[in-house]
Symmetry: C2
Subunit: 223 residues, 2 copies
């Protein structure tokens, strides 16, 4: 990334940043043979207007060519760099239940450079078991492991009751980024980043919208 582009990143709206993975995902899915793409094509594929696309991407410098569109590889590489995908990330996962297992087995993460190196659980029944090429360790080993191994991101997939305590241990051991799948709001110091995936919340957004659809009268005055 050039110094000029770095400087431009200050003050990029959160909405624009949240759409970068969407662009990246779409561009990554394109055929290798496709050299260029127009903002109109991108917009059509992603349900946005060409103007929105141009506006979003203008924050990151000018790699659009007038009357030509964007060079796919250049754009993809640039977005990858902004997203921090020009390096690998070392992950640990805590909680080898159904969801933890599914995540550990998800090949897409490794393809993007997110490597799960260690998996911890408190259940003697699963400790020692191999999961996606990694042996499940006792949670008691967590601090020892983190002292000797780099960990960029910890994935919390424990039951609700255990999550905050696990989070506190991770933070004490120096972990600075947490990907939280447990259905609680985690409390962390200001220098720790948390990204939540709350499955039930997402489902509730669906039920809310379904409710709005089936009760159209609520938008009309009642008298």
């Amino acid at each position: 990334m050039t110094v000029r582009n770095r400087r431009k990143m200050v003050g990029i709206p959160r909405g624009v940043i949240s759409r970068l993975p969407v662009y990246y995902r779409y561009l990554s899915g394109l055929s290798q043979a496709q050299e260029k793409i127009s903002s109109a094509e991108l917009g059509k594929a992603l349900n946005m207007t060409a103007a929105q696309i141009r506006s979003d991407l203008s924050y990151f410098g000018s790699f659009g060519l007038h009357g030509y569109g964007y060079r796919v590889n250049e754009l993809k590489q640039h977005i990858a760099e902004i997203l921090g995908l020009d390096r690998a990330y070392q992950l640990v996962l805590i909680g080898a239940g159904n969801l933890g297992r599914a995540l550990a087995s998800y090949k897409n993460f490794r393809l993007r450079g997110f490597i799960i190196n260690a998996i911890f659980d408190s259940d003697p029944q699963v400790i020692g078991e191999e999961l996606a090429g990694v042996q499940i360790q006792a949670i008691d080993n967590l601090e020892d492991y983190l002292q000797e191994n780099a960990c960029d991101i910890a994935v919390i997939c424990t039951p609700r009751e255990a999550s905050q305590a696990v989070c506190d241990r991770l933070v004490s051991a120096g972990v600075k980024a947490i990907w939280n799948f447990s259905p609680i709001h985690l409390h962390v110091p200001d220098d720790v980043i948390v990204e939540h995936i709350h499955l039930t919340d997402s489902l509730l957004q669906l039920s809310f919208q379904l409710r709005q659809r089936t009760a159209p009268n609520q938008s009309e005055p009642s008298n």
Copy 2:
């Protein structure tokens, strides 16, 4: 919900709506014995200010009592109603891979009234297998099943290549709400609701923020 409250729901900011599941989740986690809660307590637990809490909840009528706080049960029940949790939802799930299996086994959904009645897959190896009490069916049965059974929400956990085709079949069969876990943007008619969970996008938000942390100089002028 009273007519007055229904009318008030028009024009509620999306941000407020997106926080309702958070409130609901937190209130549901409280001890049955706790009868009331103040906006200050709620705010502290959810990293918000008391004023934000009061502002959010004021959209849904006045169930706060001056100098008393909110009655937990009343508030929880009211939010549940707004979120459409006063009924059960019939779900089908397509794609019995790792993630599909994890979701089918996730007990929280059923507890909230989201019932997975049928699971479909295209792999002869898994068809017929039982998963969380439901027998996996051939995807060929999808239309027949949907003709004879109610389906409020379809959960798509198929590989990327299959997702749009599966989505099209669901929409043709009359499904109006889709919970999409596959890493593509689905195209649907305007009357179909889609809620996405893009795991990799969430991970990229983490890597983006980690990158910002490790490259603090990008916020300073270079000359």
